[in-house]
Amino acid sequence: MKTIQVSVVTPDGPVFEGNARMVSAKAKSGELGILPGHIPLVAPLTISAVRVHEEDGKTHYVAVSGGFIEVRPEKVTILAESAEAASEIEVDRAKAAKERAEKRLAGSKQEDIDFARAELALKKALNRIDVATQK
């Protein structure tokens, strides 16, 4: 079966490298499923889970905080400011982050810049928890 190379890269170094028969990711415009031989594509991602379906049927989950995906026929690269493979997520820490964000959301007024940031933090935390429990 044809496979496609996948790498997830962050400023702190690569998070995931592997081969896959399919990669699915959630772009801003909707869900993307990428098979080997896809035409070159660039798309921004949402805060979501990237699913890498490997040849042997296993599926890897990687939590990404936005960023974008670059596709070439033989290679998929995801560039995100932060990303974590499901096995490396510390659920306790993610839960703590979620509570912090919720507290800030409850405390601040709607029009605050902090509000937007807290909301973003909450989304990231929820995403990490989701991904960690899915693995």
Partner: protein, 285 residues
């Protein structure tokens, strides 16, 4: 100098040497880590550069405010210094250069704004009453992207909202353990994009080029800032290591000289004592 004084100086110099030697080794270890960090950051920035380059060179229709030069009313300076001294000329080089540049380029304080990393830089500019927009101190020795995300995105958004119309970055570029070069880099607007190795693969853009640039360019600019910071950290550890090595060498030399004069002094005392005894005996006979 009396014997006792010399001895005290030798002891204190030895203790100083122990400290500088320890600091040298600590910095060497940190330098190692910093180089590793810079290496693992490499693939990310290469890739992002490639994509940005291919979008920017591929289309003339895509125009983003971060790509267009506009008339300059105010200039931003992003200056990277250390939190501590004891690093040779690391901080003073950069501060002197920035200070001079600003004096040359600008007549009034309204024409520039500073974003400063590191305590040394903050104190320097504060004491000269210069306009600091934002600063960050206490950056970890091995900064992660999350640590500097806040100041990087602030710098980018200050450009986007028109607080300043161009942004320069000043930092020490790490060359080797004994050399670092003062670097001035024009960060915004992003100009030298297509000069990179663009393989000019024509991408499909989903949903559109403009919307991708909206996400991509700030991320790119932030990653450039982060890259500069990693580079500067490596240079800081390197120059601290060198400074401490020099201090250790100097201490060694000083101890050598002091030991020599200590021995000479001691010998002189002994000789004098013998002369006195011999003289005393001769007087009795």
């Amino acid at each position: 100098m009396a014997l006792r004084d010399i001895k005290a100086r030798i002891d204190s110099t030895k203790k100083t040497m122990q400290i500088t030697k320890a600091m040298e080794m600590v910095s060497a270890a940190k330098l190692n880590r910093a180089e590793q960090n810079a290496r693992s950051f490499g693939p990310y920035v290469d890739k992002i550069q490639e994509v940005v380059g291919s979008i920017a060179s591929g289309s003339s229709s895509a125009r983003h405010s971060m790509l267009i030069s506009r008339p300059v009313k105010k200039t931003g300076y992003f200056v990277v210094t250390a939190d501590r001294g004891l690093a040779g000329a690391y901080n003073s080089n950069i501060l002197r250069h920035v200070y001079r540049t600003i004096q040359e380029r600008h007549k009034s304080a309204d024409e520039y704004a500073l974003i400063v990393v590191g305590k040394v830089g903050v104190n320097f500019f504060k004491s000269r009453k210069m306009n600091i927009l934002d600063s960050i101190t206490g950056v970890a020795d091995q900064p992660s992207f999350a640590d500097i995300k806040a100041i990087a995105s602030k710098a980018v958004s200050l450009y986007a909202d028109g607080t300043f119309d161009e942004l320069y970055m000043y930092y020490n570029h790490f060359v080797s353990a004994i050399q670092n070069d003062l670097t001035e880099k024009k960060l915004l607007p992003l100009t030298d994009l297509s000069s990179g190795k663009s393989k000019s693969s024509s991408y499909e853009y989903e949903p559109s080029e403009d919307e991708i640039l909206e996400v991509l360019l700030p991320q790119y600019a932030e990653s450039l800032i982060y890259g500069a910071l990693l580079d500067a950290k490596a240079a800081e550890h390197a120059s601290r290591m060198t400074a401490m090595k020099n201090a250790t060498d100097n201490a060694n030399e000083l101890i050598g000289q002091l030991t020599l004069s200590f021995n000479r002094e001691r010998q002189a005392a002994i000789t004098q004592e013998i002369t006195e005894i011999v003289g005393g005996v001769a007087a009795l006979e």
